[in-house]
């Protein structure tokens, strides 16, 4: 294992993040605040509670998930796409590294950034709503697992994409709808039974449900199932990345 290489990639990626710290932090804080103003105050004041939880607080886990999923995916996809785009990927491919080090470096950095922004979003939420976290350790575990798995997904997207449009395509057409339809802003029990079944095919449901459980102790799906699903997703992404590097798909000529 080439630890120096992991550190080099990780530090390099994080430096990019800290160079643009203002825009990296301001935009999620601003969008979170807007969601609280619109959903929490304007609409939420008419909904009052969902499953006994004030609506403003109820949407916090979903909102954090929305931010974290988007950030993890886009950071990781951009992180690996950019070297491909400008050609510096050749240096990485010619270095004494296996896919393990490359993945650790890029995905680790993207997950860290997403985690950082997720925590900032959480801190912002405290300004708008009264919030207590029932299982803080589990909350962190879910957050980290989500950051890592979606950074892995973003990494795959970044390798797959051969232009900037494709880079935006998956986050826009797949991830955003999945998050919005995954119970981020409502409880699945509020849907008609048929739609509840359809919703269970959406992996984000398990993330949001598990994450919300760590806040309030309330679930849409069993907590064990949430953990199992997120681990399955993680394994799928890792398997795909292993296959990509083994075959050189989209990376080696």
């Amino acid at each position: 294992m080439n630890l120096a290489a992991i550190r080099a990639i990780y530090v390099f990626e994080m430096q990019r993040f800290f160079r643009t710290l203002a825009q990296s932090v301001v935009s999620p804080v601003l969008s979170t605040s807007l969601y609280f103003v619109v959903f929490g105050a304007a609409i939420g004041s008419r909904i009052e509670t969902v499953e006994g939880i004030p609506y403003g607080a109820f949407i916090v886990p979903g909102l954090i998930m929305l931010t974290v999923l988007t950030q993890a995916t886009s950071n990781a996809s951009f992180g690996i796409y950019f070297p491909k785009f400008i050609g510096t990927i050749d240096e990485i491919l010619s270095a004494p590294l296996s896919f393990i080090e490359i993945t650790f470096g890029f995905v680790g950095a993207a997950a860290t950034k997403a985690l950082f922004i997720g925590l900032i979003t959480l801190a912002t939420a405290f300004f708008f709503v009264d919030l207590a976290i029932l299982h803080p350790v589990w909350m962190l575990v879910f957050l980290i697992l989500t950051c890592v798995s979606f950074a892995l997904l973003g990494f795959i997207i970044g390798i797959w994409a051969d232009n900037f449009e494709k880079l935006q395509l998956v986050p826009l057409l797949v991830i955003t709808p999945l998050v919005f339809l995954g119970g981020s802003f409502y409880s699945i029990s509020m849907l008609p039974p048929a739609w509840q079944t359809v919703t269970l095919f959406n992996p984000v449901v398990y993330l949001v449900s598990g994450f919300r459980w760590s806040f309030f102790g309330e679930v849409d799906v069993a907590i064990e199932l949430s953990v199992a699903m997120i681990l399955l997703f993680l394994a799928l992404c890792l398997g795909t990345i292993w296959w990509i590097f083994r075959t050189g798909w989209k990376l080696r000529k």
Binding site: A4, A5, A8, I86, E91, R252
Partner: protein, 314 residues
């Protein structure tokens, strides 16, 4: 003789569309030498380098670097190699010293800011260490690429067209850098299509065309072996035609009609020079001067890659 530092055996590269970029390349590179890989565009120079460096996966064949197989033992093999790519691939927003230190990290070496500073100094980039890459000129960027390749102290350095698009002065500067690295014991493989460049700095020359190595030879031996010489016999009087008595020689007349041009092969047992001069004397012509000219590597190269016998210089 010691084992070659780089050894390529029966290397094939076939792309998905059936195009064969390399058709069974065998090549040994000795430690400490400068090998120039010469060939026209699309000959397979970059593919060969990419395969050795691990950027391209070969279809068939084996490569060892420092005795390590580049597939089975890729970490040990690649750690010995530095690559200066043909394209200027650099992160535009990174500071120079940062991007060079990043390369060192990638190759698994511990941080060493002093060494990085020394490498930058040796490439006249010392005062640009904190500058961002995009602020640099093209020549400086190319030197940053060399600094990145040298950052992990490689034993073998590949330079893929290091002087493409570089002005004459910078090109000479680059040759000095290469000569300096050779003194430090680094083995250097450079691709080029400037024959002048190969002639100026290489110890050995390999000529590659259409995915095959046509020959590998010591530069001097190559030029002596394949060299054709041209003898110019300047005359005191002007001629309209080559005299009939000299028609048995492979002679031509210069445009101004004032000298006879004789092309001969230095390899031949008899060059025929003495006989020719006697015949010229017998024909009653007065010789003013005699000069010879050795054919350049360029002519040898063109002759080989055109796949046709070399014609006599007209």
């Amino acid at each position: 003789m010691t084992d070659p530092i780089v050894s390529v055996r029966k290397l094939m590269k076939r792309y998905g569309n059936g195009f064969e970029a390399l058709k069974g390349v065998d090549l040994d590179i000795e430690e400490g030498e400068i090998l120039a890989l010469l060939g026209p565009n699309g000959a397979g120079k970059t593919t060969l380098i990419s395969a050795i460096c691990g950027i391209t996966t070969p279809t068939e064949g084996t490569i060892t670097v420092g005795g390590h197989d580049t597939v089975r033992d890729f970490r040990a093999a690649r750690a010995l190699i530095g690559l200066v790519p043909q394209e200027i691939n650099l992160e535009p927003f990174e500071p120079v010293a940062g991007t060079v230190a990043f390369s060192r990290g990638l190759f698994g070496k511990p941080r060493n800011p002093k060494l990085i500073a020394r490498v930058l100094d040796s490439l006249s980039l010392g005062d640009k260490a904190t500058a961002r890459v995009r602020e640099l000129s093209g020549g400086m960027k190319r030197r940053v690429l060399i600094a990145k390749a040298l950052s992990h102290e490689p034993r073998v350095l590949f330079l893929d067209e290091p002087t493409a698009g570089v002005d004459v002065e910078l090109r000479r500067g680059m040759w000095e850098i290469v000569a300096d690295l050779k003194r430090q014991g680094v083995t250097i493989i450079l691709t080029t299509h400037y024959i002048e460049e190969a002639e100026a700095i290489a110890d050995r020359i390999a000529i590659i065309d259409a995915g095959r190595i046509l020959l590998v030879e010591e530069k001097a031996a190559l030029m002596a072996r394949m060299g054709q010489k041209v003898l110019h016999v300047a005359l005191t009087s002007r001629l309209e035609d080559v005299p009939k008595t000299l028609s048995s020689y492979n002679l031509s007349l210069s445009e101004d009609g004032r000298s006879l041009i004789y092309t001969y092969d230095t390899r031949a047992a008899r060059t025929g020079v003495v006989r020719l001069l006697a015949a010229i004397d017998a024909a009653g012509l007065q010789v003013a001067d005699v000069t010879t000219q050795e054919s350049s590597l360029e002519e040898i190269f063109v002759g080989l890659t055109r796949h046709e016998p070399k014609e006599a210089v007209a």
